[in-house]
Symmetry: C2
Subunit: 207 residues, 2 copies
């Protein structure tokens, strides 16, 4: 019997998933959580075989969380269940050691299959995820760039429409420093103006 933890912030989704898993003979919903903190707490008590994890959680970003959990519990199979169909998101979580990625518009069977496949030691992606993952073309970063605390702060303020001078005032630093952070951000995102970054930052919920 495969024991599964489920973490998603929408009660209706949790209901749907619990029902789904209960219909199968070999899979048991062993824990249901609505945020990252509760999930981490429960893992300290008891380690299931599989964790079905959403990315948009109220407290911790699911991408970070997947890395953290994988590092602490390397035996635990993690399957991401998310609406995020951006290549950078998919590649980022897979780099974090995740074992499966299923888009939320998938049917229930895909989720059951994902659980079984990762228990066999395979990497599972639903069809659409695989397509996106393999697509070479595309614009935008291949993975989500890692940005520092200060960079996130500057990005936040740029997104709110503040100029470098205004940001410098707010943070009590030199405008030159703000400019440097901007330049570093543009380099990390591989673009040549801030407008192009904001789209990704909002899309990836980096702010």
């Amino acid at each position: 019997m495969t024991e599964v933890f489920i973490t998603d912030d929408h009660p209706i989704v949790l209901d749907g998933l619990r029902n789904l898993l209960e219909t199968s003979e070999d899979i048991l919903p062993a824990g249901i959580f609505q945020n990252g903190t509760d999930t981490l707490k429960a893992l300290k008590e008891r380690e299931p075989d599989v964790l079905l994890l959403d990315i948009n959680l109220p407290d911790i970003n699911g991408i970070e969380l997947s890395k953290q959990i994988h590092d602490t519990y390397p035996e635990l199979k993690i399957i991401i269940l998310s609406v995020h169909n951006e290549k950078a998101v998919i590649r980022s979580v897979l780099q974090n050691g995740v074992n499966g990625y299923v888009l939320k518009n998938s049917i229930g069977d895909d989720i059951l299959e994902a659980v079984r496949k990762v228990m066999d030691g395979d990497l599972y992606m639903c069809r659409q995820t695989r397509q996106i993952y393999e697509s070479e073309d595309s614009n935008g970063p291949d993975v989500i760039p890692k940005i520092t605390r200060r960079e996130r702060e500057i990005l936040q303020l740029v997104t709110e429409g503040y100029t470098s001078a205004q940001i410098a005032d707010k943070l009590f630093i030199s405008p030159y420093t703000v400019e440097t952070h901007r330049k570093n951000l543009m380099e990390k995102f591989d673009v040549n103006n801030m407008t192009a970054i904001i789209r990704y930052a909002t899309e990836f919920k980096l702010l």
Copy 2:
């Protein structure tokens, strides 16, 4: 018996909702759809009492769709069930004649109550929605600005990082014209640079 149509692009959510409605004596899930087109088609055949509608649909934007449906079937009660917790989104759909707004992180009881309340002729909002709706402070537009086809096109290209000159080249128009569109966009969103717009446009999925 209250007949309910449900439209949401996630099968798992649909399952959860169907189960939820079936637990109640007085509410009947009468139709389940994964996109706007199917919903419109079904409405031509048969009109339920209530439509539970998601905003993020693959084919038609739920905000537009709610307006269209309300105009055609004014008797039909529409309840929006969405992750969008932005004031501008809530106010926009309510202006479209929607009868209820429930956030997706609500519990099942909230949804059942929403159905019953709107059948009584009341406007229903879950607690969190009401809070956001009533919040006077806040930054950002109160409703989602209506932008023209051309403006959307320019906004799209700005978001992708193109300069005005590059956009002018692409669209075979004068850079002056591009500048004019930018200015009109900034006026509509009530901001003074494009960066501030992109955040909303991405958040509201205007692109």
